[in-house]
Symmetry: C2
Subunit: 343 residues, 2 copies
Amino acid sequence: MAFTQTLFQIMPVTIEDISKQLGVSISTVSRALNGKVDVSEATKERVQQVAQEMGYQPSAAARNLRRQRTEKIGFVFNTAISGISDYFAEIIAGATTAAEENGHNIVLYTNAGHSPDELLKLCKAREVDGLVLVWDHVPATVIDPLLEEALPFVILGRRVNHHQASYVSPDNYNGALALMRHLLDLGHMRIGFIDRPAMKLTHVDRFAAYRDALEGASIPFDPSLVIATDGEQSNNQSATYQLLDLPSPPTAVIAFHDLIAIDALEAILERGLHVPRDIALAGFDGLSASLLTKPSITTVKQPLRKIGEQSVQALLCFLANNKQQPIQITLPVQLEIRESTIG
Amino acid sequence: MAFTQTLFQIMPVTIEDISKQLGVSISTVSRALNGKVDVSEATKERVQQVAQEMGYQPSAAARNLRRQRTEKIGFVFNTAISGISDYFAEIIAGATTAAEENGHNIVLYTNAGHSPDELLKLCKAREVDGLVLVWDHVPATVIDPLLEEALPFVILGRRVNHHQASYVSPDNYNGALALMRHLLDLGHMRIGFIDRPAMKLTHVDRFAAYRDALEGASIPFDPSLVIATDGEQSNNQSATYQLLDLPSPPTAVIAFHDLIAIDALEAILERGLHVPRDIALAGFDGLSASLLTKPSITTVKQPLRKIGEQSVQALLCFLANNKQQPIQITLPVQLEIRESTIG
DNA sequence: TTGTAAGCGTTATCAT
DNA sequence: ATGATAACGCTTACAA
């Protein structure tokens, strides 16, 4: 008895322990615990009672091996998560909520995203039931091998030109369009754009909206108003200076995203200019930082939490139904007008 | 042959497949792949070659069951992760780095933290090899059952009065002390404190430093200068107004943490007061938001990334050595003097 | 309704 | 150096 009690704390209780305790077979115990129909109510209750008393909890490892799934979803990042803490935190908050509501958990991977090999290793090992990729851009050379692995995956926050791949993306085109129209409505004719071409399709969409909006307003496209940056603070600022130093500088500037806008704001204020009186400024994404600056920055808010949630939900569709067709979702975004454009 | 190829894509390759291919036993394959000494170099190479060719990757589930460990670390939150995105993101960044460097991964749990039952379930199921608790406060009623589970755990970001429990905490006492000395050096005699008593030991430490610093400067403690808040924006602001409305208001205010300080700043500015000329202000934690306000807010910076890293490393010590004694680490913090106190 | 036994893919303990 | 074989703890045909 003393012996039993000691082991009790070290070794987890198994269904075998329960079966011995009750004098029934382990399969009966298993069935009873899983609420199968072919067990008498009486034994079902006895088993559950004893299981409770003994503090039984099924071994995740054993279950995973037998059921060939883990109830875990891998989130693979290939972008640094600090620096975009808002983005990251909101997405994760949405994702864990959706996952846990459905009995799943999120596993974080930050290295696997840096090499296709690591990613495939992860798939083959079946450490998780599916993947959500949080990448700046997912090339076809990654998507194709992934599809062959038959491990469901969803791309988060970006769309991708691949009809077999699933994604949940914000509506970059219409968001940027709304932003442009807002500036055009305010009478701006020369609108600068600090672009981030490395963001691929996100760039394509936002830039297309920029051009289309100009065209819609019959304003000729002026390439000197578009400056590329790599997101580095100093480069964001020098891009801003380039715009300000133009012979005919813009009266409004759109930054590819909020963090660039914050650097641009600093550069503009340093020149002694007033925002928005001398020059209007807008960002994109709706990170909380854009609300804290003085003036607060007009932006386009992504439904980050929802993007996290729906990515997980999409993945769960694949897990529930292996005939599920690719899911491609574009979520509406919202223009947030703040002091930097209408102060 | 065609049959084999089809299965090839659906069913992952196992050591049995490799053994058949080579005409050796599965135990030989296992040994060869695990680099054991009792295998001839020749077969070892053949096995590894074929494994590579067949795209073999060991099944995580099988390995977990057999080895009785998962190489995963659970992060259990009972605090909402949005709103403190900086805090969360930096800690997670540090934690995943440390974990992945050592072949482990992080699993996120946000519900388990809300009920002790869920937490114990998680332990008994052995879903992970150990836990890191990111809680506002971990009561003894949770620590004791956890210790009995013999699942290693580390408390992150807070200390705890329990000599059996491990934690990695910032040095709240000395951080608050440095902050107080800074204000006292500037000549402030009446220093307000917007406190957050629900944070338990964190509150105890920061508040003790507040009192000790006053005592060290021979300034009598005035209870009317300490107002409690629950962290809600409106309550943070009304706490600030209470201080401002005192017959003899403070010339400096310390907020329990940066987010409270940001709300306090807004309240103070709304009164038309100048910071720091009319009233100095400081926060705690070093969240990036405190740098964006105008004026920027003096704060005490926690080494968040390092806290994340060391929590994982501490946990790994327990996994490597089950005789490991409790680890209690207090990390130094850094006073960041900004415009809100020396503007 | 219940029990027996096979199997999930490994690793580890025996023999040989 | 290598091969059977028994676990690890669970689920699920198949028998009884």
